[in-house]
Amino acid sequence: MPDVMDILRNLPQAAASADVPADQAVVAADVARGHLAVSRRRQKRIGFAAAAVAAVAALAVGAGQLGTTVDNQSTVAGGSGVRAASPQLVAYTGKQPAGFKVRTVPDGWTVISSNEFEFVVAPPGKETGGGPSAGPSTGPAPVMYDDRIAVFMLGDSPIPKDSQSEKITINGKEGKLGSFPKSRTSPDTRWLMFPSDKGTVMVQVPDSTGLSNDQIVSFAEGITVTDALEKVGG
């Protein structure tokens, strides 16, 4: 009886019915879709820029009325409804992820998924698309990291050589804070890694979250790896 692994290795030949040379008309259609996507993105950016200008104008008017200044970390009470540009970190009171302990999360965010190697924190409105909290026996589909904070054990995965990084201190130990170059993974993603008894912990934070570097460091300092976590290596 053949082993399943051997059959899997030979499957590319079995699926060869789709393996025909690309028709030039089909490729041209792909390029046309790309052009359309670029055009739509430009229109969206123009819309965002206009909204940002309006928001800044409202901010200036609101601050003038209230006689205060607004910084990135604080909110203005009452008045014209001016909001902070980035979410604040608040004490996390939800269910702790398996293998980790989390002290703070961005306000309104929740832990939506965890397993023996990682957990994912999602903003309001982006909680769906993740599997249920799982142990080793259930094996749900992996949760995607788009617009979410992902924390996982790094194992032996190398940091991309072209990532820019700086040394930082996490709870008295040396860590690193860096960013993925845009061409490697999702656009504008920062990462932070720090040592733990179970291995190196990686925190991935897309810029879309709005968190500052200081907030990312503060979030990471509130993460503890517990004895429940399996040691990851190799």
Partner: protein, 168 residues
Amino acid sequence: MKRPSDQDREFTEFVTARRAGLVRVAMLLVSGDLAKAEDVVQAALTRLYLSWSQVRPKTADAYARRCVVNAALDERRSLFRRREQSFAELPDVAAFEEMRSDDEKILALLRTLPAGMRAAVVLRYVEGLSVTETAAAMRCSEGNVKSQSARGLQRLREFFRAHQPNLI
């Protein structure tokens, strides 16, 4: 900075050479449905085009593959709004035992795996990617890839062995 005409030419050359392979991977990821696979590849190539000016030639294949995997998992998640599948389904045993080739049986069994587990098995064992490459394509941790691919392989083996014809 490349001119748009150069970018289009390079993108066209890349897609002409790689499209069939991307469709093949997509088919394996979306249960063998060629129409769905085509939708997935179109979405992936659109995403690739948007990033093309920043994609280096050495990483273009890996990035294109990651776009296909993400598009395939997004396609699967759109069905999840109606019915969440977080566990493997059991295949129709009678239909399975009537299948003639091992390839056909394994393809049928792959369809029963949860989307992420299927992606890990396809990328690791069909496409031959390393754990690191698979984790990059799926944008998850290496530990997750190891556990998903190992469990997926175990499930395939268990069912395949249990329903093989007895050889005397």
